[in-house]
Symmetry: C2
Subunit: 325 residues, 2 copies
Amino acid sequence: MSITGIEIRHLRYFVAVVEQRTFRAAALRLHVSQPPLTRQIQQLEDALGVKLLERSARGAEPTAAGKVFYQEARNLLTLAEQAAERTRLAGDGRLGRLDIGVFGSAVLGPIPRIVQRFRQTHPQVELVLHSLDRIGQIKALRERRLTVGFNRFFTEEPDLSWEVIQTERMVVVLPEAHPLAKRAVLSLAEISSEPLILYPRTPRPGFIDQMMRLFHQRHLTAHVSQEVDDLVTAMGLVASGFGLSLLTDSGRKLHVPGTIQVPLRKADAATVDLCVIWRRGDDSPLLAEFLQEARALRHPPPEDAEPVEKPAPRSAKRKRAPKRR
Amino acid sequence: MSITGIEIRHLRYFVAVVEQRTFRAAALRLHVSQPPLTRQIQQLEDALGVKLLERSARGAEPTAAGKVFYQEARNLLTLAEQAAERTRLAGDGRLGRLDIGVFGSAVLGPIPRIVQRFRQTHPQVELVLHSLDRIGQIKALRERRLTVGFNRFFTEEPDLSWEVIQTERMVVVLPEAHPLAKRAVLSLAEISSEPLILYPRTPRPGFIDQMMRLFHQRHLTAHVSQEVDDLVTAMGLVASGFGLSLLTDSGRKLHVPGTIQVPLRKADAATVDLCVIWRRGDDSPLLAEFLQEARALRHPPPEDAEPVEKPAPRSAKRKRAPKRR
DNA sequence: CGACGATGATACTCGGGGGGTATCGCTCCA
DNA sequence: TGGAGCGATACCCCCCGAGTATCATCGTCG
């Protein structure tokens, strides 16, 4: 036997009658008149095949079975409320799971702050960080193992969208003893003749190539003396006097003894981008919420910013278009 | 925000669509046509304010919010099924709590078997035994602390019903050394001149008075030498040679060393009744089920038995009278 | 003891909406 | 490029939920 014919309305009506001890009072509370209420209760009793209420001239009181069903009904109603609420939360991107791709040295940048802020405003969302290089992120996004990825820069892909979150100026790192170490600011030209230690070795094209392009745009030629795997190794080689290196602004937090950090002059516009990437057309509310949080990082937000794709921030009240053709 | 407008129908429909991956297949499964199904899903989405399904030419698949709501809906539907089932069980007297009054020495009688059988056939019913004398049972019944009580016999009460469950023959208990101890059967007349030890001292009228009435009906006078509190004390006194005592047939299980049990002859019809009592007009399904179990004790059930009141054994399918006036 | 007032149940009507058929627009694929 | 399959829409019917009016019953109070 099943629940054929029983609707949530019946539960609401029955609960009201039990709690008000009277059909009329319950009808008042339900904003209906008394006769329909009587019929609904009768339908409910017929559907269950059980007499739920003992009627008298003083009102109605539940039978033993009615007491059982009252508890069940109340429980179901609150569960239904919660189900609706959880669904609405999920629709607003405030409930669920978000897989985020990050690259190795991202911990020095703004990503931790973005993630932490998102976690605070969306406590019901489970955040999972995956440390992946750009190639791995693209693969994982396509296989839906990631919803969003952070990367330094991005080469156009047909099925992926991207957006610059932050642009950082570069800083030169030199050995303490280096003649240029006492300067307040440096130009790209001044360091173009120095041996450069860059990272990471893979994947190509990567940070190294972007640096090379930077010099090339200014008709300079950089001398890359060493390609190493990671930032920390590079700093170590700088301290050992093997040459100079470059850091992003947020990388300055990492100070290695024996090295000096000197900013590049503004005129050189030596910058590197931080991007978010996601599947083009992904309208997941979680993604929309997360992108919004990521964009909030840009202070002040540039007014001429034109994101490649902007998933509309979902509103709680979805408006159905009356005509669609 | 609440769950206004959402009905169980919407849950069933939505679950079907998600599981069948297609509106048409779901409509087939639900035995409705596809357009109403589409409309119901639209209503559901509007009521929740969330888009639940991503439609395409290949079918429909749930959004993130849709997945959440699918789990919730499935859960709610099974809970609703269980709620209905539990209510039907309660309506059939197979779920709930039954408070039973028993008297002190009832453990020797058929009551344990009745209770055990009822527990087996109604495993979901919580059985609570209350040890109360007749006065206490009547009081507890009126205060609704008991649903049913067992007693030896009963004086009519306006608001209580009763029914004889079992009639037991009496057995004489005598000291081993007694001259009558070697007899196979005894008459009331033969023991009327012997000193009798009877129990319990309270409440009156009680077992003692019924025994006295038994002798009186046969124009005999019993000599009650001792009134003691309980059966075990009486047996002890018998073993010590203070006199004879009487036991119900089921009491024979209790054999005290130094005593001999000899049946009374059938012609004397020395019997004592076991009764169940309950509130007159109590139509609790649990009571009805329990009485039925108690009556099953009478083997064979006397065909001329006319219970004082027989609460109709409730059927799962309640038939509502089409006209009531 | 009878009138009154409260209760739930019933009779009847109305209208919204659930469910039906026919059809459209779109996408995918042979 | 046309057919097959999908969901959405238009339109209709009629069931059923909700309303009003009224009844039967019971408890209460003057």
